[in-house]
């Protein structure tokens, strides 16, 4: 297996959290019937956040990412951050943990769980793809 390249996570902006929390560019879903879409979800109404990630693969890479969420701006910030960073990456890429994203975006400790739910949704979407790649 070739070593996956880590995405470039850094984004210019005076307040990383505000930048990503306001960003709804990739929020939503693909058109029904879009080929190569893999989905994963995590969270529940009782957990305070629910996230669904949809990854569209083309030529072995994550070409486009969409997500849906119900949660706070902290949830959206992590979703938007991951979605942006994953586009163009192979499914085997190394992505930062939810806690690392939370730290990078300046989450208070009490908000870390929302980034972890986002990471779980992403892992659920990526897991089958990584298994295939690892073979």
């Amino acid at each position: 297996m070739s070593e996956a390249r880590s995405p470039a996570w850094g984004v210019a902006g005076s307040s990383p959290f505000d930048f990503w929390a306001h960003n709804l560019e990739r929020a939503g879903a693909f058109e029904p019937g879009t080929p190569g879409v893999h989905e994963g979800r995590a969270g529940s109404p009782g957990a305070g956040a629910e996230v669904e990630f949809s990854l569209c693969l083309e030529a072995g890479r994550i070409a486009r990412v969409r997500y849906r969420f119900r949660g706070s701006p902290w949830t959206n910030a992590a979703c938007a951050f991951y979605a942006h960073a994953l586009e163009g990456q192979p499914p085997t890429c190394l992505w930062p943990t939810g806690a690392a994203v939370a730290r990078q975006l300046g989450y208070p400790r009490t908000r870390y769980d929302e980034a972890l739910i986002v990471e779980d949704a992403l892992m659920a979407a990526l897991a089958p793809l990584r298994e295939v790649s690892d073979d």
Binding site: G28, A29, R41, P45, E52, R68, F69, R70, P73
Partner: protein, 396 residues
């Protein structure tokens, strides 16, 4: 260059801007050419002038609520008033009983004080409310025992605006000889209050909810029969020994002026604000899956507590831009977590988290209401469209 539009402030239940007439009056008591003297320094003319201003303000507060001047004590705000009412009476009557009665939907300044007293050996009964947020006076009556030393129920709920029947609750208390405290922070100046006929023994007020300054409030203590409270702050014997500390003349004058304006203009204000509030709800009620909390109960003029199914209120607020609304009360927002008031009304934590508190006030305009309705509708539609399928199915 055109200036950016002024943010739309719809969080009047959290605090109000001071009325310019209040600010002008307060300024007279601050500078070297003003009436800045200590109102307790009655040995000289400036001190006596300040004292007169303080007593004029006391008369204004009393006039708004049908009290006598000597029944009004100045405090630093409603939180202190609530603490003084509870702790002052509990300490005074400790030997008579150790039971207190309140509701589950009170402000944190009451509930936290109740819990602190529980830790000191008092027993507190927390009464439920119905789905509309009303506390049943019958249940209050049933909760009172010979050990009960205080019953405390707020007049208007700070989150929903629901009005409690304090006359009926007070009658039950009076019949059992139990002092009745009312937190009237959200009702003073908005609803008629006549303490000469209401069976209420203690009532808390705040200036900054009535277009006065922050940092000043008052406690009404009935004098006939005389209710004795244990002071919480001791020192110079101000406020007839109940609340020590140099009287903040400018703040007190601000409170008095705000209450005078409320007495003169409150009814007209309330009618206008109520019309704007209803117009806003008429627009919001067109949206899918919205619910007006407390909509089946009498409510104060400016309040709208609206649950927006399927979206998170915190995110909704985030995407409202220059629209200032709240998710719950300012005090509960500070501590986080779903609203205890909405959960007491039967909403789930998720439903409570999807709720916005929108409160209008004296300076709200029809144009702002129109813009607010548009902004909320747009943000809600956007967030609904990107909610997970599971959420949308449940909300639908």
């Amino acid at each position: 260059m055109a200036s950016a539009p002024r943010p739309i402030y719809l969080d009047y239940a959290a605090t109000t801007p001071a009325d310019p007439r209040v600010i002008k009056e307060m300024a007279r008591f601050l500078g070297p050419d003003g009436l800045f003297a200590n109102p307790s320094s009655v040995t000289h003319v400036p001190g006596r002038a300040a004292r007169a201003a303080v007593e004029d303000a006391r008369a204004e507060v009393a006039a708004l609520v049908g009290a006598r001047e000597r029944e009004i004590y100045f405090t630093s705000g409603a939180t202190e008033s609530n603490n003084l009412a509870w702790r002052g009476l509990a300490a005074q009557r400790r030997g008579q009983g150790r039971h207190l009665v309140t509701s589950r939907i009170e402000h944190a300044s009451v509930l936290d004080t109740a819990r602190a007293l529980e830790a000191e050996g008092f027993r507190v009964s927390y009464l439920p409310c119905d789905r509309e947020g009303r506390v049943d006076p019958e249940r209050v009556g049933q909760a009172l025992t010979p050990e009960t030393v205080l019953c405390s129920v707020m007049h208007v709920n700070n989150e929903t605006g629901v009005i409690q029947d304090i006359a009926a609750i007070g009658q039950r208390c009076r019949a059992r000889g139990v002092p009745f405290h009312v937190d009237a922070v959200q009702s003073a100046g908005k609803l008629p209050i006549d303490l000469s006929v209401l069976p209420v023994d203690l009532m808390s007020f705040s200036a900054h909810k009535v277009y006065g300054p922050k940092g000043i409030g008052a406690l009404y203590v009935r004098h006939d029969p005389t209710l004795v409270l244990e002071p919480m702050i001791r020192g110079g014997g101000q406020e007839r020994g109940l609340r020590a500390g140099t009287l903040a003349t400018h703040q007190i004058v601000g409170l008095g002026t705000a209450f005078r304006i409320a007495r003169e203009e409150g009814a007209a204000d309330a009618a206008r604000i109520g019309r704007l509030r209803d117009a806003l709800w008429a627009e919001l009620s067109r949206l899918d899956r919205v619910r007006l909390n407390g909509g089946g109960a009498p409510r104060a003029c400016g309040h709208l507590s609206v649950s927006f199914g399927g979206v998170n209120g915190e995110s909704l607020i985030y995407f409202l831009g220059d629209l200032a609304v709240a998710q719950g009360s300012a005090c509960s927002s500070a501590r986080g977590g779903p609203s205890h008031v909405l959960q007491a009304m039967g909403l789930t934590a998720t439903e409570a988290e999807s709720t916005l508190r929108i409160t209008l006030g004296r300076f709200t305009t029809a144009e702002e209401v129109e813009r607010a309705a548009f902004c909320i509708s747009q943000a809600y539609a956007r967030l609904s469209a990107i909610a997970p399928e599971t959420t949308r199915r449940q909300a639908g």
